[in-house]
C-alpha cells in the first residue's frame, strides 16, 4: 500500500483553506435524492397499506384518505398472528441461546487452556467457509430422521450453531486483561462466578450488538424456515408472507401484512441505529 504522488506533498494548510470552502450543496442535493429514492419503496408500501380497500391508490393516484383498517384486519387473521408469534419465538430463543453458548465458548477459547482448543477453534472457523445452502439437504434429512420437521426444536436448534458469534465473542474476550481473571481465581472464585461476574458484565456491549444481529438474522431468515416449517404451527412470518398472493387478496392487504412484518426491524433500526452502524464499521459483521 503506497501513495504515489507525482509531486512532493506539502502541508501548507493556510493556502488550502479557500479551496475547501467550495460549496458542497450539489453533492448534498444528490445525496438527498438518492436517500429519498432508497426509502421510496417503503413509503409506497405504507401508502398502499393505509389505503381504504377497493379504492384507487398508487400508482394510479394518491388515495383520498388513509385508514388503519387493513392493518387491523391483518392482525385479526389467525394465521398471520400465529406466524408473528412463531417468528418472535424463533428470533428471541435464538438470541438468548446463542448469546449464552457463544459467550461461554468465547471465554473458554480466549482465556482457558484445554486439550484440542486450537484445533477445535479452527474447525469452527472452517465451517464458516461452507455456505448453509450447501448443507441444506443433509441438515433437513438429519432433522427429518429425528422427527424434527414442523416442530419448534427442528426450526430453532440447527440454527444455533453460529460460528460468527463464537468468533466475535472470542476476539472480544481476548482483549480483556488476564489479570482480571487471575485475581478472581486467587480470591477463590468458582468458574461459574468468574463467568457471571467478570465475563458477562464486561462483554455487555458486544453481547448487545451480537443480540441485535442474531435477532435480525432470524427475523429475516427464510430458506431454513421454508423447508422445515411446513404448517401454520411452525411457519414464520417471512414464509407466511410468501403464501399470500395478490390473486387471492387485495394489494392493500398484502402491503399491510408486509408493513407489520417490518415493524420489529424498524424498531431495532430507530432505537439502535448508531449501534448497528458502529459495529458494522468496526467488526465487518454482516
Amino acid at each position: 500500500m503506497t501513495i504515489t504522488a507525482s509531486r512532493p506533498l506539502t502541508r501548507d494548510r493556510a493556502a488550502g483553506r479557500p479551496r475547501r470552502r467550495r460549496a458542497r450543496w450539489p453533492l448534498a442535493a444528490l445525496l438527498a435524492v438518492l436517500s429519498l429514492l432508497t426509502v421510496a419503496p417503503f413509503l409506497a408500501m405504507f401508502v398502499v397499506a393505509l389505503s381504504p380497500a377497493g379504492q384507487p391508490t398508487l400508482p394510479a393516484q394518491w388515495p383520498d384518505s388513509l385508514t388503519l383498517d387493513n392493518l387491523s384486519k391483518v392482525l385479526s387473521a389467525s394465521g398471520f398472528v400465529k406466524w408473528t408469534v412463531n417468528s418472535l419465538l424463533y428470533s428471541v430463543v435464538s438470541v438468548v441461546v446463542i448469546l449464552l453458548t457463544a459467550s461461554m465458548a468465547g471465554y473458554a477459547f480466549a482465556k482457558k487452556r484445554f486439550p484440542g482448543r486450537d484445533a477445535m477453534f479452527w474447525t469452527f472457523l472452517a465451517t464458516m467457509m461452507v455456505p448453509f445452502q450447501a448443507t441444506l439437504i443433509p441438515t433437513f434429512v438429519l432433522v427429518n430422521s429425528l422427527e424434527g420437521v414442523d416442530t419448534f426444536w427442528g426450526l430453532i436448534v440447527p440454527t444455533l450453531a453460529n460460528s460468527q458469534a463464537v468468533f466475535l465473542m472470542r476476539q472480544f474476550i481476548m482483549g480483556l486483561p488476564d489479570e482480571l481473571f487471575d485475581a478472581a481465581k486467587v480470591d477463590g472464585a468458582s468458574e461459574l462466578r468468574v463467568y457471571l461476574t467478570i465475563v458477562v458484565p464486561l462483554t455487555k456491549p458486544i453481547m448487545a450488538t451480537l443480540g441485535v444481529f442474531v435477532f435480525l438474522w432470524h427475523w429475516n431468515d427464510f430458506l431454513w424456515p421454508l423447508v422445515v416449517g411446513q404448517s401454520d404451527a411452525t411457519r414464520t412470518l417471512t414464509v407466511g408472507l410468501t403464501t399470500l398472493r395478490t390473486e387471492e387478496m387485495q394489494l392493500s392487504m398484502l402491503m399491510a401484512s408486509a408493513t407489520i412484518s417490518v415493524i420489529p426491524c424498524l424498531l431495532v433500526f430507530f432505537l439502535l441505529q448508531r449501534y448497528l452502524v458502529n459495529s458494522i464499521a468496526m467488526t465487518g459483521f454482516k
Partner: protein, 288 residues
Amino acid sequence: MRHRMRDPVTGLLFVLPVLVLFLIFRIFPSLGAAGMSLTNWNIGGEWSFVGADNYARLLDDVNFWLSLRVTLVYAAIYVPLTVLVALGTALLLNQVVFMRGLFRGMLFLPYVTSFVLAGIVWRWIYEFDGLINGLIGKMGLGPVAFLEEASLVLPALAVVSVWKGFGYSMLILLAGLKSIPGSYLEAATVDGAGPWQKFRRITLPLLKPTLFFVLIIETIGAFQVFDTIYVMTGGGPARATYTLIYGIYDHGFRSFDFGYAATWGVVLFAIVLVVSLIQRRFLDRGNT
C-alpha cells in the same frame, strides 16, 4: 498462570454446548453432503450407493450448466453494481456534512429488512400495474415486463438485491474513507490536485484493502441469492433465474431427489470456494 494448566475440564465444559451443536448441525451435515452425493437417497430415507453417478448426471444436465450461467451472469451484474453504488454513496456521505446522519440512516434502512419483504414490495413495483409502469405510463411509455422478459429479469433482480444490501458495504467503505488521514488530501489540494486526481491517487489506493473485503463479501452473497427469486420469479421465466441454490431447492423439495440435490450443494460449495480463493489470490497480489 498455573491454574489454567491445572484445570482442563472447565474449559471443555464451557465449550461443550457449542461443540455439540457444531458437531451435530454443522460438521456432520457438511460431511453428510459429500456422503449423500454418492447415493440415490430419496424422500423415504431409502438409499443405495451409486458411486459418482450423480456427478456424471450433473455434468450431463443442461439445467446445471444453465443454472451455473444464470448464477455467474447474476453475479457479474450484481457485484459491480452494488460496489459502485456503495462506493458512490460512501464518498457522498464522506463529503456532505449537511444532515449526514439522516441520509446515512435512510440509505442503510433496507439492510435491516428481509429479502422476502424486498421481493414482495419490488414484485409490485415491477408489475404491469405496478409502481414503475404506473409512473412511466403517465409519460406515455411502457409497459415494461421486467419479470417476464428473460433479458430483463436478472438485472431487475440484481437491482432489488443492491437496494436491499448496499447499505452494509456503504458503511464498511465509509469507515475505510474515514481512516484516510485528512492531511494527505489537504496536502494534495495545496499542490493543486483536482477532485478526480485526489480520488485516483490518494483515496482509491488507500481504500483498496476495504474495497477488496467488500468485493469478496458481495461475491459470496451473489452466489447465495434465493429469497427474492422464490418470491418474485420462481426460477422463471423459462428458467432465466434458475440459480444454483434454486436448483438445490428444486431438486430437494420439489422432486425430493435428495441424493442429487446434495450433489448440487457440494458443487455449490466447491464453486464458492474456488471463486473466493481465486479472488483472494488475485487481490493479495494486487495488494502488495
